[in-house]
């Protein structure tokens, strides 16, 4: 009873506040005219269409499933899109049956953890023979910006106005990032003592240390690079961190040549097998020593 009365007064207070908010934010005039126009358009174009909200709801459901399908197919989720068209045909052009149209597109969405916002222009020229469509301007904003490899790639895509390459490479890049994260996680779980992820599984570094030899550590740096033509390639390197005196004892220069050996091994075994054998190498030393 008391709880209900409390809820009652809370609701009353909220309603009063909401009413005040309603009065304080009147609909702005320009939006009203713009909105009004589109409202008219909706009514005019679909006046036969929507008999009831039920009809509309089922169509919405169908649309949503189609979009879900496309986002699964492409790996890219588009959330918003708008387009403005401007007719640039001059009377001179109309006489020669040439049509020139400038389209302004705005598109935003995300590919896994990376969100993007694109604005681009397409110039369409139609003459008697053919239709040419050219992207004349491309602007890309991406978040998060911590993937430094991406900022260079983005400027290149903008420069080349290569919209498709942007999406293709973005998707491959994200796929590689996910694979790297999964691989690092897998090894962390399998060898919790030896494997050390200082910056988490999503970073580009994985440390491997031998528990019996503290101060002896190797770091695998796995970068994902996008080259000039938009090809996404993994680049792995091995860094060794050993105490000075160990280096001095290393007459066969094993540690010095380790990075090269690592790269060769990658070519032969592939990424996962190479990492596995490297970790095992350090771990077995552990086992060997513990037996003494």
């Amino acid at each position: 009873m008391d709880a209900r009365r409390v809820e009652l007064s809370a609701l009353q207070a909220e309603i009063a506040a909401l009413r005040r908010a309603c009065e304080e934010t009147p609909a702005p005039a320009e939006n009203a005219t713009r909105g009004q126009k589109s409202f008219q358009e909706i009514y005019q174009s679909d006046s036969e269409g929507w008999e009831s909200s039920k009809d509309l709801r089922s169509h919405l459901g169908h649309l949503e499933s189609e979009i879900l399908f496309l986002s699964t197919l492409t790996g890219i989720k588009i959330r918003n899109y708008s387009k403005k068209t401007k007719d640039l045909t001059s009377t001179e052009m109309t006489e020669k049956s040439i049509k020139k149209v400038l389209q302004r597109h705005r598109l935003s969405g995300n590919c896994h953890m990376i969100t993007f916002q694109l604005e681009f222009q397409i110039l369409e020229i139609q003459n008697k023979k053919s239709l040419s469509s050219v992207i004349t301007d491309l602007n890309i904003i991406m978040e998060p910006t911590e993937y430094s490899e991406l900022s260079e790639f983005v400027s290149r895509a903008e420069e080349r106005r290569d919209l498709f390459m942007f999406f293709r490479s973005l998707r491959f890049f994200v796929e590689w990032c996910e694979y790297r994260k999964r691989t690092f996680k897998h090894f962390k779980e399998k060898y919790p003592e030896a494997v050390h992820l200082a910056e988490g599984a999503a970073s580009s570094c994985m440390g491997v240390r031998s528990a019996s030899q503290p101060g002896f550590e190797v770091v695998i740096v796995w970068r994902i690079q996008i080259d000039d033509e938009g090809k996404v390639l993994p680049k792995l390197d091995l860094l060794t961190q050993v105490p000075q005196r160990v280096l001095e004892l290393d007459k066969n220069r094993v540690i010095e040549t380790a990075p090269l050996g690592f790269r060769n091994l990658l070519g032969v075994l592939g990424i996962e097998a190479t990492l596995e054998s490297l970790i095992k190498l350090l771990c077995t030393e552990e086992h060997a020593r513990s037996r003494h």
Binding site: R4, C22, P28, N31, S38, S82, H105, D162, R168
Partner: protein, 308 residues
Amino acid sequence: MELADTLRPDGDPKGGVLAHLERLETRMHRSRKKLEEPQTVQAEESALVTEIQKLRRLRDKLRAEVKRRQAGFGLLHILQVKASTANVEPDQTWEITEQEVLERKWENLKAVLQAYRFTGLSGKLTSRGVCVCISTAFEGNLLDSYFMDLIVQKPLRIHRHSVPVFIPLEELSAKYLETNIQHFLFTLCEYLNAYSGRKYQADRLQSDFAAFLAGPLQRNSLCNLLSFTYKVEPRGQSFPLCARLLYKDLTRTLPTDVTVTYQGMDALSTSWEEQRASQENLFRTKPLHHVFTSFARKGEMLDMSLVS
């Protein structure tokens, strides 16, 4: 609908939603007043519950209204205008609002669906599976599109497609189609876009720079092997050069192997050798038609200097 009841007795409806809400609130207020009169405990409790439910509904509607206003849609304004201009029954105001919201959502979703073609990969569900459309472009020029009809069965298979026969479709589908369809499609995108790009470059060379060619451009259907004889100056007395461009990597639009030789000359002096090597480098690093554009520009500059 109970909302309708509040309006009919009032007769002429005042402007729009806010007024509507006012009336709703007045009704709540009246029913709440009734609550404060002495009643049995049970009746009081049930009245309280009903009251809370009504207030919750009112609150939700107000929240939605505030949200809409703050989003700047001007819906209220639209409805007020619409209600006053058209013969819209005021007791249908709430239904229209919901409808309007749904319609707006529908417009947005329809637009998003259309936007997928800008990713270069788009598709539609079919009765048996999916029809995928791959768009290609080179340097912002939108080029051919290719489609592929996939039948969703075990195993997933390609029913029909318009992919040219010289693209290694079978190889790619054998490798990736079953295991990772996204990877398959985007790899196919790479191949098709690269092919489109190479074809575009070769076409441009033939159409825009025919004056520089000393013979026909020899090309294969995959456009990854090009052979031609050219001059750096179209009208000049410069020596013809033979170029052979091989694009071993089918996912690239720049050649992997370039051979440029001075026609009919084996031994070259250092300066000629330098020229030859720089030509080779040009073809390796710049798209084909851009190389010839730079030749044309150099020629223009020379002409200008001769005139002045």
